[in-house]
């Protein structure tokens, strides 16, 4: 059923694209004459998003169509593979000047790349949407701007960050399992290091943390946020990784934990990682809001109650989350901007959370009892809503360059290489810097 539905969605999307391509020249003429008044002329707006469950907009779309009888919304979940399918496709459509939807979703991975394409986007402040600033935490608002400072994207959901841990393994290692005690134990990074040391010393046959990359990223964005807000690229898109104190601190921290033997070799999304999650191969892992679902389905019923959740050291962090943007090629930018505005309202974010549990980025929606008081039964009733909200509120903005995602993938490989033992501690930093440099070189 799922595959059939997916195929139908894809087909519908193709038909939609074809229709737009055919209609585009005809509409272009119309538009100029009618652009002043958003009248009752029938308008079809295509909304393209991604993800297994989409963005949870089904009911919102129906509601919007009822309120605006002249507007038909074609809401498509294009694919569940953002990075390999959706993102390259969208960039191609933006480059070609046709084929993209009227409202498109952009994920955190690659937001830097999208926002470097200044001309591709409608400036939403032309339609008065700069008034939305108060709805968002500063970093979420800032990342929705192009390099030229144009408001291109309005935030939808966020991932936030928590630390998930195995109570059964903590117990074996003689560590406290109560989440308040655990949170107190690793209030700061020194506390986390000491906990890691105790766990390693206990001789429990599991890694303390699954892999290097999440702990590295949590540390990196905290350091960068407290510093000048840059990591791999400065705001002129120069490659500054080698000179970034935030990067060096996070990098050295990974080496330190690795020398203690605290980091596992379980690369995210590999089979080994999945098995280890279920079999207790590691005791902690970074946990954005959506990861709770991944852990629950991967670890299975037999591990219910074995997982719990606490704030990360230093509290703040984020992994994932999206924006809605209007491509400049849209024939109905005004109507599309109004729809994007509606879909990203705090009340809509709340509705999407209720539909498919995507965590709202707007503080107003986070404070709603439905979110703020939400608990996760699988994680011993951990107050997920509270922990994730705190991590987002205290998060500091960090600038992503156009090549941020590509550099990130390459340098994180080196971190895995360190844990595998391919690089010695002395070689690692040079390899780390040159891995990113290779990306910069090959990206022309």
């Amino acid at each position: 059923m799922i595959s059939k539905a997916a195929r139908r969605t894809k087909l519908r999307w193709l038909v939609g694209v074809a229709a737009i391509a055919l209609l585009a020249p005809a509409c272009g003429g119309d538009d100029d004459s009618s652009s002043g008044s958003s009248s009752d002329e029938p308008v079809t707006l295509t909304v393209n998003v991604f993800g297994g469950d989409g963005f949870g907009y089904d009911n919102l779309v129906k509601q919007y169509e009822q309120q605006h009888p002249n507007i038909t919304v074609d809401y498509n979940v294009v694919t569940d593979d953002y990075d390999n399918e959706y993102r390259p496709q969208l960039i191609q459509q933006l480059d070609a000047g046709s084929g993209a939807g009227d409202v498109v979703a952009i994920e955190e991975q690659g937001v830097g790349q999208m926002m470097s394409m200044d001309d591709a986007w409608v400036d939403l402040s032309d339609y008065g949407l700069d008034s939305r600033e108060s709805d968002y935490p500063a970093w979420k608002w800032d990342l929705g701007h192009t390099n030229d400072g144009k408001l291109a994207g309005l935030g939808t959901d966020v991932g936030g960050m928590a630390m998930c841990y195995r109570t059964d393994l903590f117990k074996q290692a003689g560590l406290p399992t109560n989440r308040d005690q655990v949170a107190a134990m690793w209030q700061d990074w020194d506390g986390f290091t000491q906990t890691a040391q105790k766990f390693v010393d206990s001789g429990v046959d599991s890694a303390f943390i699954d892999s290097p990359n999440q702990i590295y990223n949590i540390r990196l964005v905290q350091e960068a946020g407290n510093g000048d807000g840059t990591s791999y690229f400065d705001r002129d898109n120069n490659y500054i990784l080698a000179d970034s104190p935030a990067v060096k601190t996070a990098f050295d921290y990974v080496l330190q934990l690795n020398d203690m033997g605290a980091i596992g070799k379980f690369q995210n999304w590999t089979d080994e990682w999945n098995v280890a999650m279920e079999a207790g191969g590691f005791a902690t892992m970074g946990c954005p809001a959506w990861m709770a679902g991944v852990i629950e389905s991967t670890s299975g019923k037999q591990n219910a109650g074995n997982w719990d959740m606490a704030p990360v050291p230093g509290v703040s962090g984020n992994w994932g989350g999206s924006w809605l943007a209007v491509p400049a090629q849209s024939d109905h930018p005004e109507e599309a901007a109004a729809l994007a505005d509606f879909l990203t309202q705090p009340s809509s974010q709340l509705a999407a959370y209720k539909a498919i549990s995507v965590f709202p980025s707007a503080p107003e929606a986070q404070q709603n009892p439905a979110v703020a008081d939400s608990k996760n039964a699988y994680f011993n009733d951990a107050p997920v809503g509270q922990i994730i909200s705190d991590s987002i509120t205290s998060f500091q903005p960090v600038y992503y360059g156009e090549l941020h995602s590509a550099v990130r993938a390459a340098v994180e490989d080196v971190l895995y290489g360190v844990v595998e033992g391919t690089y010695s501690d002395d070689e690692a930093w040079d390899a780390f810097v040159s891995a990113g440099q290779e990306v910069v070189d090959t990206s022309g």
């Binding site: 390999n84 390259p88 960039i91 191609q92 933006l94 480059d95 790349q113 394409m117 591709a120 070799k265 690369q267 999304w269 590999t270 089979d271 080994e272 098995v275 280890a276 079999a279 191969g281 090549l403 995602s405 590509a406 993938a409 390459a410 490989d413 080196v414 895995y416 290489g417 595998e420 033992g421 391919t422 390899a431 290779e438 990306v439 070189d441 090959t442 990206s443 022309g444």
Partner: protein, 322 residues
């Protein structure tokens, strides 16, 4: 009599006849039929080839001579992309990886296929089933094979390490070193393709005249001698074919090493099993650098031509070494 008369009279009547232009038209049609229709009949293939084969080839060449960024500038830079790749250490590594995995996968694969085919060529009970059996890996999807093998080669929870552990062997980190990862990936390739090559060899073996073997037996040649001195030389054209196909397949290796690393294109933490094909896809997909990807694709094409020719020269010596 009447017929003969008519036949005789016709040529005489012809010069004055008004039928003549129509006749010429007919002759023209039959000429067209003779000379042009073969081209017309094969044209669907060539028209499709022009659109989907020749044009992309030419366009790739055109792109490779540009600094061609998706969503960016498209600027003529001549051979700079090629120069970059030929002096780039990472690209050179992917070439070494590709050739390494190709040798590691293809040589044992074809030798094994030859042995299997020879064994299947004997008469025994249930041979049809066994012959069909070696083809079964062919019907599984490449990606499914790669996913299953990736689990088998897990470091901590993999079956191979569990098995080796029973004999006191320390767990091998299959993705860490070049050699280990090449062996693992080659085994996936071999599992899937050995049977295919074996069936091709088997078909060719059955076409070898029995009398050759009978004569050799009378002369007292052992079956091993018969295999190397009759079977293998007789199979030469087929061996050349399989070597060509394996060369092309081996040098464009993509799905297995990609799935071995959970769908990532970087081929391990240091790129120790990144193939040229993965490098190409990474260049245009992750880095949006179409020019570089196109240049790498043409270099891969050149590499395949060179290695295929080298293989041809080597395999062609089979008969001479007899």
């Amino acid at each position: 009599m009447k017929t003969a008369e008519r036949v005789a009279s016709e040529p005489q009547a012809q010069p004055a006849s008004p039928v003549r232009p129509r006749n010429r038209f007919r002759r023209f049609l039959s000429l067209v039929d003779l000379k042009a229709s073969p081209y017309l009949l094969v044209s669907p293939y060539f028209i499709l080839f022009l659109i989907f084969g020749a044009f992309p080839l030419g366009f790739t060449l055109w792109v490779s001579l540009h600094d061609w960024q998706l969503a960016g500038d498209k600027e003529w830079i001549g051979l700079d992309n090629y120069q970059f790749l030929l002096t780039n250490e990472r690209f050179r590594m992917t070439v070494v990886n590709t050739i390494g995995m190709f040798v590691l996968a293809t040589v044992p694969q074809l030798l094994l296929a030859l042995m299997v085919a020879n064994a299947l060529n004997k008469r025994f009970r249930g041979r049809l089933l066994i012959r069909l059996g070696v083809l079964i890996p062919m019907v599984t999807s490449v990606v499914a094979v790669a996913i299953v093998f990736s689990q088998i080669y897990g470091t901590k929870y993999g079956m191979v390490n569990w098995f080796l552990g029973n004999f006191g062997v320390d767990p091998i980190d299959w993705r860490k070193t070049s050699l280990a990862s090449w062996v693992a990936i080659s085994s996936m390739v071999d599992w899937r393709w050995t049977g295919y090559n074996a069936i091709i060899y088997l078909a060719a073996m059955q076409a070898i005249p029995r009398v050759l073997y009978e004569a050799a037996t009378v002369d007292g040649a052992s079956s091993r001698r018969q295999f190397w001195h009759i079977t293998v030389p007789q199979l030469k054209p087929v061996i050349i074919f399989t070597v060509f196909i394996s060369t092309i397949g081996g040098l464009t290796l993509f799905a297995e090493p990609m799935m071995f690393n959970s769908g990532r294109l970087d081929g391990g933490t240091t790129g120790q099993f990144q193939t040229v094909a993965m490098y190409i896809v990474q260049a245009f997909r992750e880095r949006n650098n179409y020019g570089l990807a196109a240049a790498a694709a043409w270099l891969l094409f050149a590499l395949i031509v060179v290695i295929a020719l080298a293989n041809y020269l080597v395999v062609n010596r089979i008969r001479e070494s007899r």
